[in-house]
Symmetry: C2
Subunit: 399 residues, 2 copies
């Protein structure tokens, strides 16, 4: 059971988490609780580090930040003991949880389960601070922000846990953002792949890299709310889901911008000429669409970047103009990427047609299209996004 920052955000919430664990023990479970820092604690520590130095030591940074989860762990163990439940906090250096890779961004490579099992066998709840381990130099090393998910998945794997429960401040994964469409429904079961494609919706729920890790190790993940006792969302292997619906969910972005280079000379290496300078400036390109030119001489290239990189990207493209020899640069910094996602679409033809048809009936213009096996994405003007989401949500039987 992993409890995120808001789930342990204050003393009452930590006591509430202790009650959730108590209930699960009554159901006959042996429990490892992985906790994040209390919400705000990590930012407070980071603020102190930044005030000390603009270039704070990575090694000491990890030692500093790791105290956040240590505090939550001790408080949660204390709360459990107060409920007459045996509980023991094990720090990563006591277990040990071994990490590899640089400070601030290492990954867990092994967990010695001996001590954990010893306490579990003696009916203890084992509380473990997330987001940290020790490296080959016996120093504390953190695994990147939000890394408590990764700790939970790694422990579930090494201990052959029945499943991994991620407690958070939302009820689960939804067919689309409920704030955008009041007809959004909680999804009971979703495959790892779909969850990854839903990242733009699911980011608040669980880190993508932890979903990947769960997928690789086939660990069933159960995402649920720590505030309400309602059914959450199970993330599991596609073959364990019987798809009644073609589409599982609808995702969208609100921070994309689009750039089209018209009539670029179509010669080998042109794509690399466009994207190399963006890569060098650390600008992430998402969609890329290039049509085959009618005459094999000229082509149009469209791509999207995050809105925050828009101006920088325009400058770079204008600098390339003489080299690329394109006719015109057309840009739009208020576009959205709208995606329908569903592992079921492979066996149901006509999803694309149904999607485009529904949008055209609403007079929503499609600016670009890309597809993958379980996802179709279109680019539209952001102004149309709410209308588009509710239309597709209805058309694909998600209401």
């Amino acid at each position: 059971m992993k409890f995120g920052g808001t789930s342990v955000g204050n003393i009452d919430r930590i006591k509430n988490v202790a009650q959730i664990i108590k209930k699960s023990i009554k159901d006959g479970n042996k429990i490892i609780a992985v906790v994040s820092a209390m919400s705000g604690a990590t930012n407070d520590l980071l603020k102190k580090a930044n005030e000390i130095s603009n270039n704070f030591s990575d090694e000491e940074h990890d030692l500093l930040l790791s105290t956040g989860e240590q505090v939550t762990s001790a408080l949660l163990s204390g709360a459990l003991i107060d409920l007459k439940i045996k509980s023991k906090t094990l720090m990563s250096w006591q277990i040990p949880i071994i990490t590899q890779g640089g400070h601030k961004n290492s990954r867990i490579i092994s967990v010695n389960t001996e001590k954990i099992k010893k306490f579990l066998d003696q009916k203890y709840v084992v509380v473990i601070p997330g987001f940290q381990g020790i490296n080959e130099n016996m120093n504390i090393s953190t695994i990147g922000r939000g890394g408590s998910d990764a700790t939970a998945v790694a422990l579930a794997k090494c201990l052959n846990a029945q499943h991994c429960e991620i407690y958070t401040d939302v009820d689960g994964v939804f067919t689309t953002n409920p704030e955008m469409n009041i007809r959004a429904k909680k999804i009971d079961k979703i495959s790892y792949d779909e969850m990854l494609e839903m990242a733009s919706l699911g980011a608040k729920v669980m880190q993508s890299s932890s979903v990947q890790s769960a997928m690789l190790n086939e660990i069933e993940v159960y995402v649920k709310s720590s505030f309400k006792d309602v059914k959450g969302t199970k993330i599991l292997n596609q073959n364990k889901i019987s798809y009644e619906k073609v589409i599982t969910g609808i995702a969208y972005t609100l921070d994309d911008s689009k750039i089209t280079l018209q009539s670029v000379q179509d010669r080998p290496g042109v794509a690399s000429s466009i994207f190399k300078p963006l890569y060098e400036k650390n600008i992430i390109v998402d969609m890329i669409v290039q049509n085959i030119s009618a005459d094999n001489l000229k082509t149009d290239v469209t791509f999207t970047v995050k809105r925050s990189d828009f101006n920088k990207t325009i400058d770079i493209m204008n600098n390339l103009k003489s080299n690329l020899n394109f006719e015109k640069l057309i840009s739009n910094n208020k576009v959205s990427k709208l995606s329908v996602i569903g592992a079921g679409m492979i066996t149901f033809p006509g999803v694309a047609y149904k999607m485009f048809d529904a949008l055209s009936k609403k007079n929503i213009n499609i600016l670009a299209i890309t597809t993958s096996e379980i996802k179709i994405s279109v680019l539209i003007d952001e102004i149309n996004i709410q209308d588009a989401v509710s239309t597709l949500h209805h058309v694909f039987d998600l209401d």
Copy 2:
């Protein structure tokens, strides 16, 4: 070099501590820095624990509180590295520093110096969180509040340090409290014994148990301010001090109360009958004065207890009345213990006379007297304390 809670109370003060260390490195020193939690941090953690449970687990309590010093350590190392000084925090489990005894109140029994020496040899400042170690179960255990002094003294001992510097928010040890007497002067050198006797003045400076430990191991301690670059006070062996003055300092209490039992039947076991019930109620008795009775039948017994225990003590004594068969109980809950302290007084006769004479000339009545080799204490009405302190401060050439 040990830095207390106020010395590392905020980011600017931690940066200031880094500058103090930098200066000492320039003077050619190898340095271990022991730090306390930032002032307020420990109380904040304790508050959280109390909100979780009235009976918070001792083991988890220690894990919780130890984060305070860990945070300071990482921040100080970061500040040193920012000044281009190599620095490395070593946690007690990395060294290890081994403790024995129960949680919340254990003591350091050994320090493995290997890792510390390795870093010192490579010109690192080694930063170590005070107040903690790990016990035989590999769990973090704290050594009582204010215990960072003990960590510093233990490290100084195990590493054969040249000396141990205690940085605090006062300039050093004074001949008496400067707030009571503006003529109070900082003492350059004081013996361990004197320092212990000055406890009532020195408590703000250094913990008594750490002074004792320094005395046992003959570690020179240098108490100084982390806020002003002024000479502090050296605490060392009596034989390393050439006493120019008979008296080193004048201490006093402002929280004592006095009880006299008049005409107690003088028989064997009477003293134990008086003090056993006080001991059983955890009431600490300080001064005890009993005169030999003229007729060997009746005697007067006077003793002092802290003012907060006064009412409880009176009740206990009244309950004993039939048993002890004393005539009258006389009490005064506004008395002060006034002490002149000086290792030099052994070789200078007449200190007692000089003291009593000076007080009598000021019409200050002495209620009781006790003496030790390096201290003479008298009990007086608290109302006279300021006058008494300034009189003795002048008489013994301390102005």
